[in-house]
Assembly symmetry: C2
Homo-oligomer: 166 residues x 2
């Protein structure tokens, strides 16, 4: 969810700029972990509305809709660390993906327990334990890392090319 369909980086940039009065440049952010690039990340993610107001990652909606037609799709979010996010994420999904059903949502702590054929994620900690096809979604924190057995995609257009019939 975060970093794949929910653009948490847009929030990090905005919340950080609001706090420090200056917008960071991508050069200051790319290649660093979230909390290294934006020093108060760990406060933002525990605050109300941080997740609820997240914009969508560019181009995800139509591709998710098509994936949902061709695959058995689940949205899995490691949301459990942030208790206030649980209701917000449920609302966010209902707002932005009305064609998905609550039966397709999973909020977990560790993604180790997830069984599926394909996982799209931006964090190696989630992909490492996964036994199926691993698709790494590029985000600033992973952009200079080795793919380590994952297929890297840089956009939802690339996901469509990889997974959808035309």
């Amino acid at each position: 969810m975060d970093g794949v369909i929910a653009d948490v980086y847009a929030q990090f940039y905005d919340w950080d700029e609001r706090e420090f009065g200056r917008r960071r440049s991508p050069d200051e952010v790319n290649g660093k972990r979230e909390f290294e690039a934006f020093p108060h990340t760990r406060q933002y993610v525990f605050q109300d509305r941080f997740f609820r107001d997240c914009p969508l990652v560019d181009g995800c909606q139509p591709v998710v809709q098509q994936l949902n037609d061709e695959y058995e799709l689940f949205i899995v979010s490691a949301a459990m660390e942030f208790p206030q996010s649980l209701g917000e994420k449920r609302e966010w999904l209902a707002e932005h993906f009305p064609f998905l059903d609550w039966q397709q949502f999973v909020f977990c702590g560790s993604k180790q327990i997830i069984r599926a054929d394909i996982m799209i994620d931006d964090h190696f900690k989630n992909l490492d334990h996964f036994s199926g096809q691993k698709i790494l979604f590029t985000q600033p924190h992973n952009m200079f890392q080795d793919e380590n057995g994952c297929t890297r995609v840089r956009s939802w257009k690339e996901i469509a090319d990889l997974l959808l019939d035309n």
Copy 2:
């Protein structure tokens, strides 16, 4: 979670009695589905505090603690249908199982996506798709049904006998 560690039937009996002014007898409840036994079940489960105030299923705490020492344990709840329950269930788990970590909690819609070796559940709809060992926890709604490949347990004592050393 519900019907295995969280005693939702205690809530059904109490909420139903408060509403109708008479406590139903087990004979009226056993062998029926929840909403057949307690006609307003589907209203109760969408109300605040229904899940938060659930008592524990008898004897579960010490056995869960021992299972947590001997196994890699996850608490998986099909909570997604009830948005207001997500935060309540997270709080309930933290209160009653302080020795568990948020990384061990999963709130989902369908349990089809869960990968594990053993599942303890009171509903066949959750166990049917599971590929590991299936343990059916007896509750009024399933008590007269065939086990259908599951191992039936009637108490947390029986779970301890089945799964714990000693």
